[in-house]
């Protein structure tokens, strides 16, 4: 999704440029990334289809009771975004010689729009599970939408969406900057190293900052209000405290309900959530045991990994942007090395972020309404689930390996020497 945005930027620069050589360069850059996008898109599609089916196969009780609500955004995702995305991705990848420049640019834009709409609807679904709004319980025990606007305007959804989309752009920026850094360090691929590095760093600094402030900050505050158990567990706050400190690192000890080897910054947590250093933050002891997130240490670590990496992203991108602005980035090899080695980190941070959201919601499937233990399929035995889990595990391992090999080959091959694209003069425009 982040890459779709960056491809649009490349195509826009190419379209607006009057210099033929520059046009050819940026078109080729877009083509290079479009191929990587196509591989990612394919794997996203084939691994995404199971997700929609698994609501029914593995979580049938949950589906039966909430289908009238979450089925709606899921169906809308299919109809409003997948059709758009797949139709125009076909045009974008196969149609460059059949379409006019403008129409080819438009198909890139529509792929971008499609993928961002898709993200929105899936997050509306997730946000409803985190913070249910606009629903009503029918006499037969199932839920239905009572207000469509409330469902779509769920504040949780908008916070989660912006936070997530920033993460997508951060990921794409780091990958693009890393490829640029690689080319410059290896002294090859001519102008492309600079193009990728520049776009990666600019998009990276903007998205890394937005990631923390305001999206991450607001999301955290809203969460503290609506899922206080999750915040307390994420921060490892066992006991309610006035002027609570923030633990930067440590190991939660479930038995003694303390943090081992804490590295604490006093009063910061109270300030981050309530804006004053003396505010009281509810710890886990404020809530009954059966409402605590079930796998507490994992939640604590996921959250801290996400925040730690997020800080690193902002820091390295700020330094890189400063050097870029001074025109010295190409010779600052240590920064290029940092950027190159950082490419996997946004993937880890995004995964950790999703784990934080999902584990933080436990023990609820729909927060406050349906417990996770009551949502699964009644007649699907554990043996069957394990069988398919292993199947997916094997399949996804193979897919990941294939992905790494293909993208690696593609990056090694690099963009071709620019040749002006042959567009028919006017087919559609």
């Amino acid at each position: 999704m982040g890459l779709a945005l960056l491809i649009v930027v490349l195509k826009t620069i190419a379209l607006r440029s009057t210099d033929l050589e520059k046009q050819a360069k940026y078109d080729e850059a877009a083509r290079f990334w479009a191929k990587i996008f196509a591989i990612n898109f394919l794997l996203g599609v084939v691994t995404g289809i199971p997700m929609e089916f698994q609501f029914g196969t593995n979580w049938s009780e949950f589906s039966r009771r909430t289908g009238g609500v979450i089925g709606m955004p899921l169906a809308m995702e299919g109809i409003f975004s997948f059709f758009l995305e797949s139709a125009f991705l076909g045009l974008f990848l196969f149609g460059e010689r059949r379409l006019s420049r403008r129409f080819h640019w438009l198909s890139a834009v529509l792929v971008f729009v499609g993928s961002w709409i898709s993200g929105f609807f899936i997050i509306v679904t997730n946000a409803w599970m985190q913070h249910p709004v606009g629903y009503r319980l029918l006499p037969n025990g199932v839920y239905e939408v009572s207000s469509f606007t409330q469902l779509l305007l769920n504040p949780w959804a908008w916070l989660e969406y912006t936070h997530n989309m920033c993460a997508a752009v951060v990921t794409a920026s780091f990958v693009m900057a890393a490829v640029g850094a690689l080319y410059i360090l290896q002294r090859r691929q001519g102008p492309y190293g600079h193009i990728f590095l520049k776009l990666g760093v600019y998009a990276g600094i903007v998205s890394s900052v937005l990631q923390v402030f305001p999206t991450g900050d607001l999301h955290g505050k809203y969460m503290a209000k609506n899922q206080p158990t999750a915040i307390a567990a994420m921060e490892g706050l066992f006991h309610t405290e006035k002027g609570a400190g923030m633990i930067v690192m440590g190991q939660p000890n479930y038995e003694s309900q303390t943090i081992d080897n804490p590295f604490r910054v006093n009063k910061v947590l109270s300030f981050l959530i309530y804006g004053t250093t003396s505010a009281e933050v509810e710890g886990l002891d404020h809530f009954p045991r059966d409402q605590w997130p079930s796998t507490l240490p994992l939640l604590f670590y996921s959250y801290h990994i996400m925040v730690g990496l997020g800080t690193w992203f902002g820091l390295i991108m700020a330094i890189a942007a400063f050097y870029l602005w001074r025109g010295k980035l190409d010779s600052a090899r240590w920064i290029l090395w940092c950027l190159l080695l950082s490419w996997p980190l946004p993937y880890i941070a995004t995964t950790a972020g999703w784990m934080t959201a999902e584990i933080g919601r436990q023990p609820w499937l729909v927060f406050g309404l349906i417990r996770t233990s009551t949502g699964s399929s009644i007649h699907v035995s554990a043996g069957n689930s394990l069988f398919t889990l292993l199947g997916f595990l094997g399949m996804y391992t193979v897919l990941s390996l294939l992905w790494i090999i293909l993208v690696y080959n593609h990056v090694q091959q690099g963009p071709e020497t620019p040749t002006p694209a042959t567009h028919p003069q006017s087919l559609t425009a």
Partner: protein, 348 residues
């Protein structure tokens, strides 16, 4: 309102069968009809820009089913657990084989993905046919509205059926034959030279098998679920569906002889469409019939979502699907005509 949503879902599934049907069909006959590297690349180029959009019809139909009939979605998807999972795996393998084949010029790499493409297309088609067979025949729904089917039991229909019995296997074979015919006609329409001739030759032969299987399939359905005939008896106008099946099969054969390839492909679309409509007519207003004595049929009335959900849903569905149909028209229009034989590799 429930009736409307029944037909909306039926229509979307029909759209899926017709659209993804031809690229599945191309996959089934691919190994046998396209022999040289350039023919294989040509065959893949006919479906390259569209297969993925066609598959979206399945997702969109699934999503629509989910929110319009949550009980059906929950019951059927968990009940058909294992076969659905296998369908998912096959969809993954098939998508991968289409897209990754072109990433290496190595002959071994390519022939591996060629084989995988045909393998997954054949199995998927059989699974889909058998799935439709299961829905028509009915499943042992329990008092809690759920069921869980083994892959096979005694291969007979009756109170304790498996996913596979003689009837659903027949459904799979009919699907295999009908979709390979559909794919062959599409391929003949989109290609030229040897490939076109071979595809057409194949279509002529498989047409005979399809007609024979269809003729067996109709009485077999009545045997597997006699209640299928109720709607036809009550509303003789419903016999238009089987009539359209026969008519389209005849037109298909006649138009194979003429120069333009479009009419026979369209006749094949009409054939698949009227088969699907005919099946849906036999079911209505049941969504999933129950066999055995424990539970009741899952009907529209029992599975339908709340009224407000459906009203809102209808509004955006109309908007969204009009847009979707528009995109499809644009894409198919831009990629109209035969695919060029000389273009370099498959888009990559």
């Amino acid at each position: 309102m429930g009736t409307l949503w029944f037909w909306i879902v039926a229509l979307m599934l029909t759209g899926y069968v017709i659209l993804d049907g031809f690229d599945l069909g191309v996959g089934i006959i691919y190994l046998f009809v396209a022999r040289t590297e350039s023919e294989r690349a040509q065959a893949l180029r006919t479906i390259g820009p569209v297969w993925d959009g066609n598959e979206v019809w399945l997702l969109a139909a699934g999503g629509t089913l989910f929110f319009a009939f949550p009980l059906l979605y929950a019951s059927a998807f968990s009940g058909f657990y294992l076969p659905l999972m296998m369908v998912l795996w096959l969809l993954i393998l098939r998508g991968v084989s289409i897209e990754l084949r072109g990433h290496s010029p190595d002959a071994l790499w390519r022939s591996f993905f060629d084989g995988l493409f045909t393998f997954s297309s054949v199995l998927l088609t059989i699974f889909f046919g058998a799935a439709l067979g299961n829905v028509i025949r009915g499943v042992p729904i329990g008092a809690d509205n759920y069921f869980f089917l083994s892959l096979w039991t005694n291969w007979r229909t009756g109170p304790n059926p498996g996913i596979l019995d003689w009837y659903t296997v027949l459904g799979g074979v009919i699907a295999l034959s009908a979709l390979s015919l559909h794919g062959a006609l599409y391929l003949a329409m989109k290609t030229e030279g040897h490939l076109e001739r071979r595809a057409l030759h194949f279509a002529r032969r498989i047409w005979i098998a399809t007609v024979a299987l269809t003729l067996i399939g109709l009485p077999a359905t009545v045997l597997a679920r006699p209640a299928s005939l109720n709607n036809y008896k009550g509303h003789p106008v419903a016999f238009l569906a089987p009539l359209a099946v026969i008519l389209s099969v005849v037109i298909m054969r006649v138009t194979m002889g003429i120069r333009s390839r479009l009419p026979s492909f369209l006749a094949s679309c009409a054939y698949l469409g009227s088969m699907m409509i005919g099946a849906a007519t036999g079911l209505f207003p049941v969504l999933l019939p129950a066999v055995g004595t424990q539970g009741q049929d899952l009907t529209i009335a029992r599975a339908i979502s709340g009224p407000h959900t459906l009203r809102v849903g209808l509004a955006w569905w109309c908007v969204g699907m009009s847009l979707a149909v528009m995109y499809f028209c644009v894409v198919y229009w831009l990629f109209r005509g035969k695919v060029p034989t000389d273009a370099e590799g498959y888009g990559h």
